[in-house]
């Protein structure tokens, strides 16, 4: 099983190492700076995206030798004069998610304000996927959490075919490309948006997809934590079925898909949007092992009194074995499981608010 965990927090990047059965902080970097995304690529490189309050988004890469260097960041092209009514800025807000592209050197970056960027040289240069950015429908993309900027929060690359890509957008549904990003279409059917007027409730583009996760062994199985429910697709995001059995609540941000078992996934539910805290102050993980027909509420090792931890969409991860999981919270709690979520332990650290966690091999 993998033995490293990368954690992006409001105040820096942390690496944890598993020694025996215990995890402990083994390294840290960028102390004091917000880290918005982390990625451990299969070539051994580690990426940390910074979201500097004054100086903008930055991207750093650690190579196999352990040396960090600053990479290029995605940059939007000059805004043409005839796009004056575009509601979204043509300027990078932050890197929200980084994913390997399935080809050596290729990375995808999902950003605010909704640009998807590709690198083919390990982050040394980036190009905007203009086919997506210039679609007229993009102007309908709504902002995240009352903000003005939409964000691409998920990039799913089919491990069998790196040209086959799905993205999840807050707030604009699920978009697909089957030609490596040359063309795009919105594909999600079957979701509904409680927060919209009735006539727009089932419109694919108003669906607030908080996070997507697919099963590595069966990539057509995709799970979604949506703003008002959890959903499952068995056709790579085209049609969705609500999983009404989720408990203790249907709101949340994070989802993790078992890498081998297409019927298993984990969620971290919370009280819905106006409050965003765990139900009854009890922090729990909801796990299904039967494709969403039923859910177990897992509590062993998790705080069950006066816990107000919220888990953001990139702050829950599962390792390639499906046995190790980790999640981090807005109050800096970090819990790790070695038994598929049945029980959890905390490393000896009080971390800043956590945005993202990722497992890796040393």
């Amino acid at each position: 099983m993998v033995d490293r965990l990368h954690v992006g927090t409001r105040k820096g990047w942390f690496e944890l190492a598993r020694r025996g059965g215990d995890w402990e902080v083994s390294d840290c970097r960028f102390l004091g700076d917000p880290v918005s995304a982390v990625l451990a690529d299969s070539d051994g490189a580690v990426y940390a995206a910074l979201d500097l309050g004054h100086f903008g988004a930055k991207l750093w890469r650690r190579d196999r030798s352990g040396a960090w260097s600053e990479c290029a960041v995605p940059v939007f092209p000059p805004k043409p004069a005839d796009t004056g009514d575009d509601p979204h800025p043509w300027s990078l807000g932050k890197i929200w998610v980084l994913e390997p592209g399935g080809i050596p050197g290729r990375l995808w970056a999902g950003t605010m304000p909704g640009g998807l960027f590709r690198s083919d040289d390990g982050g040394r240069s980036w190009s905007l996927v203009e086919t997506l950015w210039r679609m007229p429908e993009r102007r309908q993309w709504a902002g995240v959490a009352g903000g003005e900027q939409p964000g691409i929060n998920s990039v799913l690359v089919d491990p069998r075919n790196p040209q086959d890509i799905r993205i999840g957008v807050s707030t604009a549904g699920v978009w697909a490309s089957t030609d490596g990003g040359a063309s795009w279409r919105i594909i999600n059917r079957g979701m509904y948006a409680e927060y919209m007027p009735p006539e727009r409730r089932e419109d694919p583009i108003v669906q607030d997809v908080h996070r997507l996760a697919s099963c590595a062994a069966r990539p057509e199985v995709v799970w979604c934590q949506h703003h008002n429910g959890v959903f499952r697709s068995e056709d790579a995001g085209a049609t969705w079925r609500e999983l009404a059995a989720i408990r203790p609540s249907k709101f949340g941000f994070a989802v993790a898909a078992h890498p081998r078992d297409p019927d298993t996934a984990w969620f971290v539910p919370a009280i819905k949007d106006e409050r965003r805290i765990p139900v009854d102050g009890r922090l729990v993980v909801a796990r299904t092992r039967d494709a969403g027909r039923s859910f177990e509420v897992l509590t062993e090792g998790l705080p069950q009194r006066h816990a107000y931890d919220l888990v953001w969409r990139h702050a829950l991860a599962v390792d390639p074995s499906g046995e190790q999981l980790a999640f981090g919270s807005t109050t800096g709690g970090l819990w790790i499981s070695g038994d598929g979520g049945k029980s959890w332990t905390m490393p000896d650290a009080r971390l800043p608010p956590i945005a993202a966690v990722r497992f890796a091999q040393a």
Binding site: L52, H54, F55, V73, S91
Partner: protein, 89 residues
């Protein structure tokens, strides 16, 4: 030559010593700085070339007015100071 100085807060991320440049506007002054220090550009300007929202520039003790076009005039012996606004962060 106008003198351009940078907040020590930038030094955490990259070297940004004070430099002297020949320029008629703030935009020209920054362009001259970026010629020798291209990595600095993304720290100070957004993707469209405007000053970042939480970066401010003072010329001889007063904030520049044109944060988008960077057209504020500068002349020899002017002191240009680039620092972080007390917002954001």
């Amino acid at each position: 030559m106008a003198k351009v100085s940078f907040t020590p807060a930038l030094q955490r991320f990259l070297s940004a010593p004070a430099v002297e440049v020949k320029a008629a506007t703030l935009g020209e002054a920054l362009a001259a700085v970026f010629t020798s220090k291209p990595a600095l550009r993304g720290y100070l300007l957004d993707d469209q070339g405007a000053l970042r929202r939480h970066v401010v520039v003072y010329v001889n003790g007063w904030p520049v007015k044109d944060r988008t076009g960077l057209s504020d005039p500068v002349s020899a012996r002017d002191e240009i100071y680039v620092f972080q606004a007390l917002t954001g962060g």
